[in-house]
């Protein structure tokens, strides 16, 4: 998920920075007072989740919760992810500073896409399925974006994509299951979190 400095070509880096900036500005415009607490909590959630490595089968993975964040916050995913990624890069050397734009784009854009696609389905399919689709779909899309950024910088696409896809498949299932549980919980305990976002975004 976190591409390091010195891997990507300059055009890819520039495009990533420009698109992340645009997404962040768009997100901040939509950041109303009542959404600030949710945004802060989900940002912290993403920050911590991607630091905890869960051993899963032959490898270990970390959750990213971008599907969940996209579903609840929509375009706010950009500023929310960006803050957490900046702190991860500074504190832990996860990814780099120059590639922040690309890393943020790779994680936040799938969140926005999944959110936009699945939010209209909210009352048509069970919450558990909704959460699963959001979580797993966003992880797979992120995997594709990572492969694409590496490909555009000169790595062979098919082999890289295969590695990234198989590496992310267990994570996508795990993330889907956990996102499903979380959405079920939110819709029972505080359904207005999902409702409010649906009407405003």
């Amino acid at each position: 998920m976190h591409i390091a400095d010195g891997v990507l070509g300059t055009p890819v880096l520039m495009a990533g920075i420009a698109m992340t900036l645009a997404g962040t500005v768009l997100g901040l415009r939509k950041l109303d007072d009542d959404k600030i607490p949710f945004a802060a909590v989900l940002s912290a959630c993403f920050f911590v989740a991607s630091l905890i490595h869960v051993p899963l089968g032959p490898s270990s993975v970390h959750l990213i919760f971008n599907g969940l964040i996209g579903l609840i916050l929509g375009w706010l995913a950009f500023p929310v992810m960006l803050i957490a990624l900046v702190l991860q890069a500074i504190f832990f050397g996860f990814g780099g500073v120059v590639v922040l734009g690309v890393n943020c784009l790779n994680i936040a854009l799938p969140a926005v896409m999944v959110g936009a696609l699945l939010r209209p389905l909210r009352h048509r399919i069970p919450e558990r399925i909704l959460g699963f689709l959001a979580g797993s779909g966003a992880v797979l899309l992120t995997g594709i974006m990572v492969s694409l950024s590496l490909y555009l910088s000169g790595e062979a696409f098919s082999s890289t994509a295969r590695v990234v896809f198989w590496g992310n498949l267990p994570l996508s299932v795990l993330e889907g299951v956990i996102s499903g549980f979380i959405i079920v919980l939110i819709s029972k305990v505080k359904p207005e979190v999902l409702n409010g976002v649906q009407s405003n975004a």
Binding site: A39, A40, L51, G57, P58, V61, H62, F92, F94, L174
Partner: protein, 186 residues
């Protein structure tokens, strides 16, 4: 069905793990005229099969693959500044610099590593050459502190919980500032 899923997750949690999506690190040291090193992920998991490049002023000099436990070695190098670059795939890249001064000034037995040099100290000491004594001493010293340097390097890559808590504090603080700014403007 949920029980089955929980069970599957629990079982997979118990299985052994190698790293995949984390901070990559490469560490290298001079061993005689050789350059040895290891590639690993933060937390100490080894990156097996990582591609390792040896560079001089950003020009590729040699290339190799790390073995099953993430170790690699370049043989018979001149004493000069090198950069080691490791690629563990999926954009996980790390670099490490080795200064020319880390190489011994001269090596007693040609291209052999310190390990083999150290094995026959009697022969080398017999000629009472103070220079060779110094070289041997230096080599032994380097060997003695090597595990310590590795440990220090890996310790630096570990995630510490006070950093995580600090990060959460920053996040809440930044969002707090944002809402304060909005409140003032409004």
């Amino acid at each position: 069905m949920p029980k089955f899923i929980c069970l599957a997750i629990l079982i997979s949690l118990c299985l052994t793990n190698t790293a995949q999506a984390h901070r990559t690190k490469v560490f290298a040291w001079v061993d005689g005229t050789n350059l040895a090193g290891e590639v690993y992920f933060g937390g100490g998991e080894r990156a097996k099969g990582a591609k390792v490049d040896l560079l001089v002023d950003k020009h590729l000099v040699a290339s190799t693959d790390a073995n099953e436990v993430g170790e690699f070695i370049f043989h018979n190098l001149e004493a000069r500044d090198y950069q080691v670059s490791a690629n563990a795939g999926q954009g996980h890249v790390a670099t490490f610099a080795i200064a020319g001064s880390e190489f011994p000034e001269f090596v007693l037995s040609g291209s052999e590593s310190t390990e083999s040099t150290l094995r026959k100290p009697e022969i080398e000491l017999a000629d009472k050459n103070s220079d060779s004594c110094e070289v041997l001493y230096e080599a032994a010293m380097k060997k003695a502190i090597q595990p310590l340097r590795n440990q220090l390097d890996q310790y630096e890559a570990n995630i510490r919980w006070h950093d995580v808590l600090g990060g959460m504090g920053y996040i809440f603080g930044l969002f707090g500032l944002w809402s304060l700014m909005r409140a003032r403007r409004g």
